[in-house]
Symmetry: C2
């Protein structure tokens, strides 16, 4: 190693460590805002977060960082993890510097303004309210995508994808999504018909007090290996997993009439939590020690929610626990009835309430529309029509108004494009990782039926969590499952569960 | 106004605004650490706070800040609030730059290490455990005091006082504390004798569930004018008031056998909260908009706790509320019995449990000892002996071990010197402000008896809260009460309450 390159690398490590401290502080402040903050403090908190973010951006995008990355060279003389760390540093730096400050500031301002108007539009259920603001924001998003494309040598939409999932591009997404849009609609139809024929299964009701649901959430977290020495469970309007690996903050919300909704939010977020917690401590504050992109992150939460939490094996283990902790009894609280309730298919209009069969179709619609908006082939004004047409094509239903249509998600109206695909890729990956895990250790599934997740956790720890960002997402998936991302395992899983009633 | 001076001032305002955002973010992270954070996250949180603190120090103590302050001149051509703001900026900058970075870092390290050993020593009740570490820390504290003295042109101990209370010095403290040590010991003796003769008053007992106590705390906060739109109540090991003016975080702890302890912690911290909340919004992020030093801050909490909360008038108003919210009844819950319990004198060995008659004596002992330690006339090794001798002289009691003696407070073992006097000055000022308030508006006291604190709040808002740091603490006290700080009003208050049973 030349002294200069090594020196530069060491200084970069120090720089990214500082950056991590700020990112972690922000994570707690975001959690606090969603969970604890009195309503009157919104503006002050925004100013605090902006101040921290500005420092973080200055550290990351500063000229000195670029110079150090250049001086550190290709990292050829570094060890393999160090070289991967340098690669991730370069990735972060390139994204941070790809857009100039004026455009970046314009995006933040336009995004904040559009989000505000979107809230009004959504309450009105009328896209027209937000059309003009959204058109302005979309123009800036396109500019940013073009700037990123130029800086990174990528197609504009791929450049947006690359920020969340290094290396992910439409060439990888398109065949997956084509396969999903091919087999999911007929599958959905068959499952719905089958369900109609199976009337009369008792469904677990309520009211179940929030305090009991919270106690159950904590018990399930414990079963999953989450410890109160490093994690909390609280409530917020939208469930999320925040905080940092040594200070995990899981949130959910409790509906007294529908305990499953709060519970599966906990299981889902706990999947994210276990990934964060399992990242290698040695690389804790470095880019290579971070999760391997958004899609893999989502795979970890969906694996816990869909493959484990909604499985027949888990219902068998959990039914007596539910009865004990929730203080309930009766036929609706037997394992079979619970499994039936947890795997009920609705095929509704709203993504966040969607079941696992229809969910990817919601995402595919968003992907098609946002790719077209970034490419300039779909204008803001034409969004509602395109949305409704797509819903009919993919799910066979048309929203009765924009509130349950193109206004339902906040993402676009904040300026977030290129994020949606991760939700469906994560679903496919969840099935792919789980299939690989049970191939490697056939005892995993019987153990789940006994409430023992340690065997599954061991496989995930070795093959996903401990790898962090050492490899790219594509390399990670191949190493862990023996093949690149595809839809085969998701298809098998859905057919087995919903047509054969097997898992 | 010359363009250069005005320009520099405007840039300073921007700089201190950024600084305030960091300080506010840190305030929430400190609150979170004490109230929410899982135990395993201590080290990570310390790293986050250190990173933020480093940025803040860099902004404040950076060369550019000094140059801007110099260029802004004496502020003669600024408006009066702007000039006061510049004065406060200079004060903050001078303190931040008075100690060089190496000494500052050595103090932080030695303080953290000594605090750790202190925890062990306190558990052992043996000063010897911490003696060596404390001697090292004390040496650094003396160096820092000398460096500050040289930079600020003050006596070394006065330089430490000046950081918390601009302009406060021993020349102001000594006569006050002399008067207090003169009249308090005989007063204490008379009150204890009187109490012994008054046996048989029923005392409110328990257990009272924490949830009910919390409900009472929230009701009392409401009575005091504290709104859940900008404030929270939570629990922590040591009560405090944290957060920011738009995001107040009050904490207390609930003892099921002693509801008064948790309640008066709320009332005390609510006094701090009302001060913070009442600071002028226009100057929100500027030094002149901050509280007028530690002593005045403590006066606002003690005024609410001692003058209002433990008064006969308040007990009369609150007794039915207590019975309703706590679900209690009986003779111990009548106003007179409650008042008796709230004004019971113990004269114990521990400061944080002390009543208002003996409290200032605890503080005076600490003041005498810390001034001697900074001056070099008292060595670390001689602290336990000097402590026990002082306790006997001032309170007539000797600790049976160092745990209830010189190890009871954390301050010195963290390297905090010059902070203690504010506790007793605050007590004197609380009485002085309250006396001025009821002179100005004789309806204040009858209103308190009806649970109406708005008249008192109006006087405090005009004379203390809205003034922020426009004047120095000494000027503020004279303007509000017509005289400099003295012990007359505290003496009158204590004699009236404890000898005449009048208030």
């Amino acid at each position: 190693m030349t002294a200069g390159a090594g020196d530069s690398y060491v200084r970069l490590v120090e720089r990214f460590r500082r950056l991590a401290h700020f990112r972690d502080a922000e994570a707690i402040l975001y959690w606090d805002r969603a969970v604890m903050m009195p309503p009157g403090a919104g503006e002050a908190r925004a100013a605090q977060l902006a101040a921290l973010d500005r420092v973080r951006h200055k550290i990351l995008a500063g000229e000195e960082t670029g110079a150090l990355i250049e001086a550190a060279g290709a990292g050829d003389e570094l060890g393999p993890w160090e070289a991967a760390n340098l690669r991730e540093m370069r990735h972060a730096w390139r994204h941070a510097t790809a857009i100039d400050e004026a455009l970046s500031a314009a995006l933040v301002t336009a995004g904040a303004r559009c989000e505000m108007v979107w809230r009004e539009a959504r309450a009105n259920c009328d896209f027209e309210t937000v059309r003009a603001e959204f058109a302005k924001l979309l123009k800036l998003v396109r500019e940013a995508a073009l700037a990123k494309a130029a800086a990174l040598g990528l197609d504009p939409y791929d450049a947006l994808l690359d920020a969340h999932d290094p290396g992910l591009d439409r060439a990888a997404i398109d065949p997956l999504f084509a396969e999903l849009s091919d087999f999911l609609p007929p599958l959905l139809e068959r499952v719905l018909a089958r369900q109609t024929a199976e009337k009369g299964i008792p469904t677990p009701g309520g009211p179940i007090p929030a305090e009991r649901q919270r106690a159950l959430g904590l018990r399930i977290m414990d079963v999953m290996g989450i410890d109160s020495a490093w994690a909390r469970l609280d409530t917020s309007a939208h469930p999320f997993c925040g905080g940092t690996p040594e200070d995990i903050r899981i949130t959910t919300r409790f509906d007294e009439r529908d305990f499953a909704s709060g519970l599966f939010a906990v299981v889902h977020e706990a999947g994210h939590a276990l990934y964060e917690r399992g990242l290698p401590e040695k690389w804790r504050d470095q880019p290579v020690g971070a999760a391997c992109g958004t899609s893999v992150h989502e795979s970890q939460s969906l694996l816990m929610e869909m493959m484990v939490g909604r499985s027949r094996a888990f219902a068998q283990f959990a039914a007596p626990l539910f009865r004990e902790v929730l203080g309930v009894a009766g036929p609706a609280w037997e394992a079979d009835a619970l499994y039936g309730a947890f795997t009920r298919i609705e095929a509704g209009l709203v993504r966040v309430e969607a079941d696992e069969v229809s969910y990817p179709l919601h995402v595919i619609l968003r992907y098609q529309l946002e790719a077209a908006m970034v490419a300039g082939t779909l204008e803001a004004a034409d969004l509602p029509g395109a949305w409704n047409e797509g819903m009919e094509r993919l799910l066979g239903r048309v929203p009765s108004h924009d509130g349950e249509g193109c206004l339902q998600d906040i993402h676009w109206y904040q300026g977030a494009f290129g994020y949606f695909p991760a939700y469906a890729i994560g679903a496919a990956l969840a099935a792919q990782f789980f299939a690989a895990a049970i191939r490697a250790d056939p005892e995993i599934e019987p153990a789940i039926g006994r409430g023992d997740l340690t065997r599954l956790s061991a496989w995930l720890a070795d093959n996903v969590r401990a790898k962090a960002s050492f490899a790219t997402p594509r390399e990670l998936v191949i190493a862990a499952t023996g093949k690149p991302l595809d839809a085969t395992d998701l298809r098998r899983h859905l057919e087995a569960r919903y047509l054969e009633g097997a898992t």
